[in-house]
């Protein structure tokens, strides 16, 4: 948690006050990026987007299972890049509660997604013989 308190009187209410640097955005328990970190994140996300698009559009990998796994890998890495460079996630902001909430959410998502796909895959293969379905390939 932030221990810094701000004197809001100095930068509010006066119409011309916006000319001064805004103290309220500092020390509020959030880390902020610099131009450099934003550009790093942007460059990484461009690369991580371009490669999977190229892989699919140019049909680089013949085996669809391997191609799917590779594309999923790029997606996961890019989501992590966005969380670190754009959402500024770390273990310290808000006393660790943003990270805690995110970890909890990810656990729930993993249970919901894997559970749904697993159960429905077996339901489909057992109940609809001859209907070629493989929902696992979707994920």
């Amino acid at each position: 948690m932030s221990t810094v308190t701000h004197d809001h009187v100095t930068d509010t209410n006066a119409p011309g006050a916006h000319a001064h640097p805004n103290p309220s955005v500092h020390g509020d328990g959030h880390s902020h990026g610099t131009r450099r970190t934003y550009l790093t994140g942007f460059a990484l996300s461009i690369v991580l987007t371009a490669i999977p698009f190229w892989l699919v559009m140019a049909n680089v990998i013949a085996d669809t299972t391997i191609a799917t796994l590779v594309i999923m890998g790029f997606g996961v890495v890019q989501i992590l890049v966005h969380m670190v460079y754009f959402l500024h996630m770390n273990t310290k902001s808000e006393g660790g509660w943003t990270m805690m909430a995110a970890i909890f959410t990810i656990i729930v998502i993993v249970i919901a997604l894997s559970g749904s796909l697993w159960v429905m895959y077996h339901l489909n293969t057992n109940m609809m013989p001859g209907h070629a379905m493989d929902p696992v390939n979707l994920m």
């Binding site: 509010t12 790029f74 943003t98």
Partner: protein, 209 residues
């Protein structure tokens, strides 16, 4: 409470909340907004699960390879990624106290968001024109719900962005407005993260099958 409006005679009432509430100094607005985003994330997780389960049920209708136009998806993805970096620049200029530059970057972000939305709407109208309507198959129902929910979020993000630009123009970079810009920043980057999941799972993997 200190922020109760005191109606003393002769004094003009100001209902615009220039001074943040007491909790704002401790950053509880941001953690609260983060918790909202996490619950929104669960909504998208549910929609992804539905698409994962039903996405192969074509009902003898068109499949992703018949419908999707990857160059268009690449353009809309580029617009959304660019809008993330322009919003980042708006945040940096806001921290440096530059109101004009913040507004310019926010406007560019809004234009890129609108470009993304235009691509999505063009794609939807194209699909509906081709007869690939939501009620055609379970694949199309889950596709329209997932991508449509994301597009709806972007729409409201743009509405929020315009509202915030008006507020910034009227009141400047007050602490309350600063917190609003930070919350929209989280919302905007969050939508970008969801879109990574959408173009990976729906479009790229759809083309592979």
């Amino acid at each position: 409470m200190s922020n109760t409006i005191q109606a003393t005679p002769g004094e003009k009432l100001d209902f615009y909340d220039l001074v943040p509430h007491e909790h704002a100094a401790h950053g509880s607005t941001q953690i609260g907004f983060w918790l909202y985003l996490m619950s929104d994330c669960l909504i998208f997780a549910t929609l992804f699960a539905i698409y994962g389960v039903l996405g192969a049920n074509f009902a003898a209708g068109p499949s992703p390879a018949d419908l999707f136009n990857l160059p268009l998806v690449a353009v809309s993805t580029a617009a959304l990624l660019l809008s993330s970096i322009t919003y980042g620049f708006a945040m940096i200029d806001m921290e440096e106290g530059k109101k004009g530059a913040t507004l310019v970057w926010l406007a560019i972000t809004g234009v890129l968001g609108a470009a993304f939305l235009g691509c999505t709407l063009y794609e939807f109208s194209h699909l509906i024109h081709e007869g690939a309507v939501p009620q055609r198959s379970a694949f199309l129902s889950s596709f329209f719900v997932l991508v449509g929910t994301h597009a709806l979020h972007v729409t409201f993000g743009i509405v929020w962005l315009i509202t915030l630009m008006v507020q910034l123009g009227m009141k400047g970079l007050t602490p309350a407005n600063t917190i609003r810009v930070q919350c929209l920043s989280m919302f905007w980057h969050f939508l970008d993260v969801i879109w990574i999941g959408v173009f990976t799972v729906v479009y790229l993997m759809g083309m592979l099958r």
